[in-house]
Amino acid sequence: MRLANLIGGVFVLILGLAVVFFSSQLTYYSEFGPGPGFLPLWVGMIISACGIYVVIDLLRKQGGKEEFFKLRTRLGLQIFITIIITFLLLPLLGFPIGLAFFIGVTMRMMGKHRWAPCALTAIITAIGIHFIFISWLTIPLPRGLIGW
């Protein structure tokens, strides 16, 4: 976890420096008072200072026993990839069918359910999303190539 925290600290530092750089290109003070770069510059400087503190503090300390990757981190990663695939498919499949696909796949992946209950839940989900969000709440969700 120490290494992860160290990487986090370096990221904070880089972000802070980037904010300082980009906000220094904005007007710091105008004739109407503080400009658009005023607050971001200070925020960037504070983030950078905190980043430096975090990094130095971690370099001085001994590492803890806790690991960054846990037993189930892999499962979390699989769900994350499934979400990415679902989002990529949403314009093609539409929200009701796309998200139903997500439910079905994750039920199978995480819950180790049989295909039949997964498929049934997915169908109910698709119908539910269609009627609740599209028909009842009239949210203009994309319906995909099938048009449902």
């Binding site: 005023f38 960037g44 979400i83 989002f87 314009p91 949210i139």
Partner: protein, 510 residues
């Protein structure tokens, strides 16, 4: 007399059939959310917020408030029965609540939690009704310097209550402020941190961030570290829910003290319901003539934190309604709701939207009464929900988060952005960067920056404007003290260690 008039106005709105239904839906949903793992009040409200564009704001806020205090009731069930807090605000309830359940007094623990929450909540509503308008009248004196100083104080208080690593709290707050600056600058019209991406010119919508950081991020964390516990199987009859005379005597003052502590802590920006329940428990243990009973099933150990968390969830509305400053992530999400409906909470809200304010406050009486009844008669139904597979809950969260993010601007960019913030939220949780300061920085960022710029414009660029005005000076001093609190803590810790070392040295010499 004015209070009675306000009460009459409020109840005439809250008691309409429509609003009673919204209140009932809110408290039931809140109770369910409280019971289910991996979803909290801010997530639930954030996921529902985009779906209430077309709903009357008063009704929607009544429902959201119901969710907020309903969650505190629901979280108790898991704390008592499986020793897993459904909500962070019910962590302290686990200690004695679970012990009571093991001794066969689960019914009494749940009952005292419901009764305590109801009584403390009612007291809190009464004080809120008297206090909030007074606070709003006081806030009418606020100008830009006071508002900037107030937000600075709120950010400072986050370092006091934000956990053991104040530096990470500050980083998180700054992240929030930074995200708030993305988009066109309202004064100069210049784009900031948009990097030529047209979708970023309007800024990143709060709903997108909340759906990601609280909704989907929570899913990742819950998959990785599921909260599991075994339900204590106990046949619960209605008579088991009644307290014995001794139990009632032991808990009555705990309820009152918890309620008062909850009200005060709930009002402090960044105080929150978790801190309230924590302080109420510690306070009760200190007040008790038999502190050794705590941790072994003392009923006061359930009554005090449960009364405090409900009281705090209600008093948290005082700074939100009267000042426009949210004190907790849930009220921060509600502030986003106000913005969505084009309503600005703050001192003028009591004059411009009295129906909304008093309708909302009065609905809390009804909501608390409904929750009391629900918690006496429907507990088995909620216990049954604990058996709902997490895959289904997770699926619902992802569905609501994706639909919510898409519906903000009807584009996929926001859906991807939501996923990006989910990853950020997950990593922040994992590396122990608190999320709440980011949310408060985000919602208060614009108010803070605009007030700062207006104040400096008035003063011709002189920062003395923040020190020349008494209210502003008071807030600035509080902010400085709050920011320095880690230094004080560090110094105190060093002093204590030095004393211990001196004592042990003198003992070894003897």
């Amino acid at each position: 007399m004015e209070l009675l008039n306000n009460l009459y106005t409020g109840f005439s709105i809250a008691l309409t059939f429509n609003n009673i239904i919204y209140c009932l839906v809110g408290v039931l949903f809140g109770q369910i959310v409280g019971v289910l793992p991996g979803i909290g009040a801010p997530t639930a409200i954030a996921l529902l917020l985009p779906l209430t564009y077309k709903v009357n704001p008063t009704s929607a806020l009544i429902m959201f408030a119901g969710i907020y205090y309903g969650v505190a009731y629901g979280g108790t069930i898991t704390s008592v029965l499986i020793n897993v807090p459904g909500e962070s605000s019910t962590v302290m309830t686990c200690i004695d609540g679970y012990q009571m359940a093991q001794k066969g007094r689960a019914g009494a623990a749940l009952s005292v939690a419901a009764i305590g929450s109801f009584l403390a909540g009612t007291i809190s509503i009464i004080i809120l009704m008297a206090f909030a308008p007074a606070l709003a009248r006081f806030a009418l004196r606020f100008g830009p310097p006071e508002y900037f100083a107030l937000t600075a104080m709120a950010f400072g208080l986050l370092t006091v209550f934000g956990g053991e690593q104040p530096i990470k709290t500050i980083i998180s707050t700054m992240f929030g402020l930074l995200i708030a600056t993305i988009g066109l600058d309202v004064v100069s019209g210049m784009p900031r941190f948009a990097f030529g991406v047209p979708q970023l010119l309007g800024g990143i919508d709060f709903i997108v961030i909340i759906c990601g950081m609280f909704g989907v991020a929570e899913v990742f964390s819950s998959i990785e570290e599921p909260e599991e516990g075994e339900i204590i199987k106990q046949k619960m009859h209605l008579r088991d829910l009644f307290l014995t005379w001794e139990e009632w005597i032991a808990s009555r003052w705990a309820i009152l003290r918890g309620g008062v502590i909850g009200f005060i802590v709930g009002m402090i920006p960044a105080g929150g319901i978790t801190t309230a329940s924590f302080l109420a428990y510690l306070g009760e243990k200190r007040f008790s003539k038999h502190p050794e009973r705590f941790g072994k099933g003392a009923i006061e150990g359930v009554a005090a934190p449960e009364s405090a968390n409900n009281s705090a969830s209600i008093s948290g509305f005082a700074p939100l309604l009267a000042l426009g400053i949210p004190g907790s992530p849930t009220t921060a999400v509600m502030l986003a709701g106000f913005m969505m409906w084009g309503i600005r909470p703050g001192p003028m809200l009591f004059k411009t939207n009295p129906d909304l304010v008093w309708g909302l406050i009065s609905s809390m009486y009804i909501g608390n009464l409904l929750l009391l009844l629900i918690n006496i008669f429907l507990i088995p139904a909620f216990v049954a929900m604990l058996r709902l597979p997490y895959t289904i809950i997770m699926g619902f969260i992802v569905i609501f988060a994706s639909v919510g993010a898409y519906s903000v601007n009807n584009n996929f960019f926001d859906v991807w952005m939501m996923l990006g913030f989910a990853v950020l939220g997950y990593l922040m949780r994992k590396l122990q960067y608190p999320i709440v300061p980011l949310v408060l920085g985000l919602v208060l960022g614009n108010l803070s920056e605009n007030s700062l710029r207006q104040a400096l414009l008035i003063s011709g660029g002189s920062f003395s404007i923040f020190f020349n005005r008494p209210i502003s000076l008071l807030f600035i001093i509080a902010a400085i003290l709050a920011y320095l609190s880690p230094v004080f803590r560090w110094a105190l810790k060093g002093l204590r260690q030095a004393r211990v070392e001196v004592a042990s040295n003198s003992e070894s010499k003897q």
